[in-house]
């Protein structure tokens, strides 16, 4: 049974029908964290976040406090908030943007105060029409309410937020591609070094890039203290985290659960959460952290929902998306669909990603539609090896950004776990699930 004693930190008010309005926000403790933060020294706010050991919720899981402290030596020019959530089956930020935009804005203002930044760019996925509307509304309300603009709540701190809609490229979720797009350029990830936008970010200035969910955690941490946050979870993974559960389960949706204290089995099967698989079906495999992550078999269901705990088993919590496959799922089609996504979204810069994704996608499509050859399996594995040499985890990469090494995750996973199903596609001249 799941351990569901932890407070709801980022979804505290999402249950109200009017959760996105300023009125509901203020009625549920809105801007209290900000008011408290403004009474503290900025360094002390940053220290609370550092003590909370909050890992960034964007996918890479870099400690937010450390990201901030890397910048203390020199002044930060910009805070950029990444709301470009675009991966298939990943929809946790989507919920926050639509249901609690004010909470995100409050987190942003506090973070900007801690970093002493006066300009924030909030990059929101362009397809999130409703989310964009509500975020912009929340920002406008904040200005009217005195929480944004000059001299916030009478303090000496001033801040502006510009909401910038993305133009429909998944790659702009990569922070350096996002910065290029913000600068008005084509969304190409930047070459490294410099490794961090903290060194040279937007317009060449020191920049912090944080995820939406990371921001949403900040008000609670300031109000309740970093220690209280760090008391939740275990190991390196503290606090709660949003999981977007999708696939063949009874109750797909977004769930906030305490980290490490719960396992994938809890998330998928607890009646208060996923509620188990659809009646009459059994689990075949699941993706633990978005379509970039290597697949897990049912034998790993008891892995705790923790960053290192999943990492040790050879995958990642990534974007917080969990996709469940059952006995009706064709793994060739699943791998093809995921690869097709990467082939479509590869920015086109690096040859292995650009050409490799399209090539593998075409092989999988052929196989799914009856043209498969046994040698295609070795071919695909070798092509994957040429994109991410060695096949280890975390992957080695031949490309500028991690999109390239994301391609092999599903392909090599599917082939190694379900080789016989591939062979059945070849021998049967098509998909046995059709």
């Amino acid at each position: 049974m799941a351990t569901l004693v932890a407070p709801r930190i980022v979804t505290a008010r999402t249950g109200y029908d009017d959760s996105y309005t300023l009125a509901r926000f203020l009625a549920t403790g809105g801007y209290e964290g900000l008011r408290k933060a403004l009474t503290m020294f900025p360094e002390d706010v940053a220290l609370e976040v550092d003590e909370a050991s909050l890992l960034g919720r964007g996918g890479a899981g870099f400690p937010a406090g450390r990201k901030w402290s890397m910048l203390r030596k020199s002044p930060v020019s910009y805070l950029v908030v990444n709301g470009d959530e675009s991966e298939p089956a990943t929809f946790k930020d989507h919920l926050l943007l639509e249901r609690d935009p004010n909470g995100i804005v409050e987190g942003i203002i506090i973070s900007a105060y801690a970093l002493q930044v006066n300009q924030v760019f909030f990059f929101v996925r362009g397809e999130f029409a409703l989310g964009l509307e509500r975020v912009q509304h929340a920002v406008n309300d904040a200005y009217e309410h005195g929480a944004l603009g000059s001299k916030i709540f009478g303090s000496d701190f001033s801040l502006d937020i510009v909401v910038h809609p993305g133009a429909g490229a998944y790659i702009c979720g990569d922070e350096t591609a996002l910065l290029e797009a913000l600068e008005g350029k084509r969304g190409f990830p930047r070459i490294k070094p410099p490794f961090f936008p903290a060194v040279s970010g937007l317009y060449g200035e020191p920049t912090v890039v944080n995820n939406v969910e990371t921001m949403a955690n900040i008000p609670w941490i300031v109000l309740n203290g970093g220690e209280a946050f760090a008391a939740l979870g275990a190991g390196r993974s503290k606090g709660t985290r949003l999981f977007a559960l999708a696939g063949r389960v009874k109750n797909p949706g977004v769930y906030e659960v305490e980290m490490v204290k719960n396992t994938f089995r809890d998330l998928i099967y607890d009646p208060a959460l996923g509620g188990g698989l659809l009646d009459g079906h059994t689990i075949k495999a699941f993706i633990p952290g978005g379509v970039s992550a290597p697949w897990f078999g049912p034998d790993l269901l008891d892995t705790p929902l923790g960053q290192d705990e999943v990492g040790e088993k050879g995958s990642m919590l990534g974007s917080g998306s969990v996709v469940v496959f059952d006995d009706t799922t064709c793994v060739v089609r699943a791998a093809w669909r995921i690869t097709k996504f990467f082939a479509r979204e590869s920015c086109g810069q690096c040859t292995p990603c650009r050409e490799g994704s399209g090539w593998i996608e075409r092989v999988l499509y052929r196989m799914e539609h009856g043209g498969g050859r046994v040698e295609d399996l070795a071919l695909m594995l070798d092509l994957c090896d040429n994109i991410a040499p060695g096949g280890g985890w975390p992957p080695q990469q031949t490309t500028i950004c991690p999109l390239g090494p994301s391609i092999p995750s599903s392909v090599t996973g599917a082939i190694s776990m379900f080789r016989s199903e591939f062979i059945r596609h070849v021998e049967g001249g098509g998909c046995p699930f059709d």
Binding site: I191, R344, S346, G348, T351, R354, G358, V363, T398
Partner: protein
């Protein structure tokens, strides 16, 4: 550039070597003999790390990982492996990926035989393809500009072309669009790719995706022969590889010359080949595109072909007859000659005809003695100068590769540009300060800059704030400042700019100057004494020689009887009517490679070899002497100028003692110390700058990946001919010294008539594609010729109630013509700009010039709506 760089020690494939801090791994490894394969990397552009072909193993905190050698910089103790199994697999993998969607249509591809992708595949590829899927398809070549075609199926997305455009030339007409393996180089939906520099993208394309219309399907690379030479289409002096198939010129490629062009060329220099050997059907001597193949003499009023003997005899008699009257003969032109050709003609005119009336410029340049008296800057110095001040026409149009070199200075190094803005210019957007100077005002603005404050003539557009900022940049003595000086306006007396030049040189004594005279070897011609005030070796003589404009006056009055034209006259002068009148009753001997309207007045025409048909040396704007090499044989019985001058002298009963170009260069060097022979003989391709210690620049080894198509740059110039030097002695009188600024009278005052703030003053400036010989003779460039428009600032347009496209009647004291109006906000208020030798609706290139009042220092015009 004496940048002191500290050294670090790195290990490449087990051997340690020293590298400069900040050096790229790919460069350091290559120096140590470990060539790393690459496609997107280009030594003249910022690395992008896109193709991933250059992956090598680099030791780091996570152990040895694959890193792209093209953008990883060396650090002390770095360990690099370029030849491990892991590296090889990664590189082979990348190559296989690149070939996956490549059409492999090598047999019908122009790049086949010199293709980096083909070469790498041959060296590293597997020979078998594992790709059995349908390849990506695009519509086969699409025309993206006047000169360039794009085959997107062949493209390997290396971003060389898009990077060149964005980074080097600053053009935005091509960019990537689409994603994944559908990503394509896409032309702008609205603007054609008609960049002045579009040919460079074709040259650096590592596959056959970009092809140039003039070269497309004309040859196979292995059939081409090559010489290295210098482009003389303008005076920048870009080093080029000239290639021909048999005796037909096929292609010119930019050579990576460190001090000059960095491998780049402009499209005019690259694509003007047809004007040399592409008009074989054209026989009309009055057409500029016609190559003259045999000597012509006028018989019964008609030019008829004749023998060299007959033509030389006629010319000798006529010129000598005229020379028997004092001041009866002179010579005009010669800026398109080699130094040797210019020297030979100088010897002929001064020595045989005993005349001091000779001038290589057409009244459209600057005083040669004044230029030679100034402290000089090199192109490289200008491209690194703290402050560059331009008093020229639009460099992008006049000296395009100088524009590229300067652009880099402002974009990459962030140095300052002060622009005397006379009309629109490519550098204008990069100017730190733009001084909007009206015609007839430059010397006054210059003078204002020499004072600590104030002093501008009333009604000027230049503000006190702009003057102040410029003074700050120039500093006390002009230390670190390079002035680039040319002729921004042919409708303005040269005295205006010469006056400005004098004022600035006297005040900013630490500053240096780079002349921006445009016409091919004009600097060499002046150095060889084709100037009324200069003798060979830049020696100043204060005698009574006539300039071109003075000779034309003397011809009109009958004081001068005959003129020797070294090149056609009428296409180059402003006052075409006045020049025609001067030639009408005179004896006219023309030595030219091309025909032209001038020949209507010729009595004898002697056909000469032109660029790519002759050996010798030329001198560029910075005074750099480099070798030019013949690639093809001149048509018909055309001779080199050295031969023509020598034979004509013999016919006059005297000997110039110049039996060959090499002999001529030898005499130039021995008599006046000018580095002609040493440049011809030496394999050092960058030549020598006159008056400076020869700085031998070691050329980086030719990388066929960076410069595909160029075979080898290690040609020895004319070394193979030097053994044949005849030991003849010729006495040349010892040269006087070159002039000092204070000794010269030039630039000491020009009378500019007063104009009020509301009048319009004429500016005639050059465009790259004017109706000159190089463009007229090259069908590929014909559609790019500028059309005549009246270009005005929007303030003036508003004031006059005009908008773009309106046709107005433009009246000057000399002419009235109808022109369409165009908006040009860089043109200062009160100035009206018209392009020189642009074409009006009837295809006439002269009409716009008739507006210029030759009797006044500036020309004021009136506009009336029609």
């Amino acid at each position: 550039m004496t940048e002191v760089k500290s050294l670090v020690t790195i290990t490449v494939n087990g051997r340690s070597l020293e590298a400069a801090t900040g050096e790229l791994v790919i460069e350091a490894a290559e120096r140590a003999g470990h060539y790393v394969p690459r496609f997107c990397y280009h030594p003249r552009m910022e690395p992008v790390g896109m193709c991933r072909m250059c992956l090598v193993e680099v030791d780091g905190p996570r152990g040895a990982t694959l890193q792209p050698a093209c953008y990883i910089k060396v650090h002390d103790g770095m360990t690099v492996v370029t030849d491990s199994e892991k590296v090889k697999k990664a590189q082979d993998g990348v190559l296989e990926f690149l070939l996956a969607n490549h059409p492999l249509d090598c047999p019908v591809c122009d790049k086949g035989g010199e293709c980096p992708l083909q070469d790498q595949t041959l060296a590293h590829g597997s020979g078998e393809t594992r790709f059995v899927e349908e390849k990506r398809h695009f519509v086969k070549p699409i025309e993206i500009g006047e000169l360039v075609l794009l085959d997107r199926e062949r493209c390997i997305q290396c971003a060389r072309c898009t990077r060149f455009s964005a980074e080097v030339s600053g053009d935005t007409e091509i960019a990537f669009s689409g994603r994944g393996d559908q990503m394509e180089v896409a032309p702008s939906p609205t603007e054609p790719f008609d960049s002045t520099f579009s040919g460079n993208t074709v040259q650096i394309c590592p596959v056959g995706a970009l092809t140039a219309k003039p070269y497309r399907f004309t040859a196979r690379p292995w059939d081409l022969e090559q010489v290295e030479s210098t482009c003389t289409t303008c005076a920048v002096g870009c080093r080029v590889a000239v290639q021909s198939s048999g005796n037909r010129l096929t292609r010119v490629l930019g050579v990576d010359s460190e001090p000059v062009n960095h491998g780049w060329l402009c499209d005019k220099g690259r694509f003007t080949l047809d004007s040399i050997d592409g008009n074989e059907e054209s026989l009309d001597p009055l057409r500029a595109s016609t190559r003259l193949r045999e000597p012509l003499v006028r018989l019964n009023g008609v030019l008829v072909p004749t023998t060299w003997g007959e033509a030389l005899a006629r010319a000798a008699t006529m010129l000598q007859d005229a020379a028997s009257t004092p001041n009866g003969v002179g010579a005009i032109g010669g800026a398109a000659l080699t130094n040797e050709g210019a020297f030979a003609w100088e010897r002929f005119v001064r020595g045989v005809l005993a005349s001091d009336h000779l001038d290589a410029q057409y009244g459209d340049g600057l005083d040669g003695a004044l230029l030679q008296s100034l402290p000089k800057a090199t192109i490289d110095e200008a491209a690194n100068a703290r402050v560059v001040v331009t008093l020229t026409g639009d460099l992008r149009e006049e000296l395009p590769v100088l524009f590229l070199r300067l652009r880099e200075n402002f974009i990459k190094r962030g140095n300052a540009l002060v622009e005397f803005t006379f009309a629109s210019s490519g550098l204008h957007p990069l100017a730190t300060v733009s001084l909007p100077v009206r015609p007839g005002e430059a010397h006054l603005v210059a003078e204002a800059l020499t004072r600590s404050e104030g002093h501008l003539l009333k009604g000027s557009n230049v503000t006190e704030a702009e003057l102040h900022e410029t003074r700050q940049l120039l500093g006390e003595s002009g230390e670190g400042v390079v002035f680039i000086v040319g002729r921004p306006n042919f409708a303005e007396d040269a005295g205006v700019i010469e006056g400005a030049l004098r004022v600035l040189a006297e005040r900013f004594t630490s500053a240096t100057f780079l002349p921006a005279l445009r016409r091919s070897n004009v600097m060499g011609a002046l150095d060889m004494g084709l100037s009324p005030k200069l003798r060979p070796g830049r020696a100043y003589v204060d005698d009574e020689g006539r300039s071109t404009l003075q000779q034309l006056d003397a011809l009109r009055t009958g004081e001068q009887k005959a003129v020797l034209l070294l090149g056609c006259l009428l296409g180059n002068v402003l006052d075409v009517e006045g020049a025609s009148a001067a030639l009408r009753d005179a004896v006219v001997v023309v030595v030219s490679g091309h025909g032209g309207k001038t020949l209507e007045y010729a009595d004898v025409v002697l056909p000469a070899a032109v660029q790519h048909e002759r050996h010798g040396t030329v001198t560029n704007i910075e005074g750099r002497v480099t070798a030019v090499t013949a690639k093809i044989v001149a048509p018909g019985s055309a001779w080199s100028d050295v031969a023509i001058a020598s034979e004509l002298a013999e016919e006059c009963g005297q000997s110039l003692g110049l039996s060959s170009e090499v002999q001529c260069a030898k005499i130039i060097e021995e008599s006046v110390g000018y580095p002609a022979l040493s440049v011809m003989n030496d394999v050092s391709d960058e030549g020598a700058v006159v008056g400076r210690t020869r700085d031998r620049v070691e050329r980086r080894p030719l990388d066929p990946m960076a410069f595909p198509g160029i075979r080898s740059t290690n040609t020895a110039g004319l070394a193979e001919f030097s053994g044949a030097v005849a030991e003849e002695s010729v006495t040349v009188s010892p040269s006087p010294a070159s002039a000092t600024l204070s000794a010269l009278a030039v630039g000491r005052g020009v009378e500019v008539p007063a104009f009020d703030a509301y009048s319009l003053v004429l500016n005639i400036s050059r465009r790259l594609y004017d109706h000159g010989v190089a463009v007229q003779g090259s069908p590929a460039l014909a559609n790019l010729i500028a059309t005549s428009t009246a270009n005005l600032n929007h303030f003036d347009l508003d004031r006059l109630g005009l908008s773009t496209g309106d046709v107005v009647e433009v009246s000057s004291p000399t002419a009235t013509l109808n022109l369409a109006v165009a908006l040009s906000d860089q043109t200062p208020r009160g100035t009206i700009n018209v392009a020189f030798a642009s074409l009006d609706e009837s295809g006439d290139d002269v009409a716009s010039r008739t507006l210029v009042d030759p009797k006044s220092a500036i020309t004021q015009v009136r506009l009336e709506t029609t």
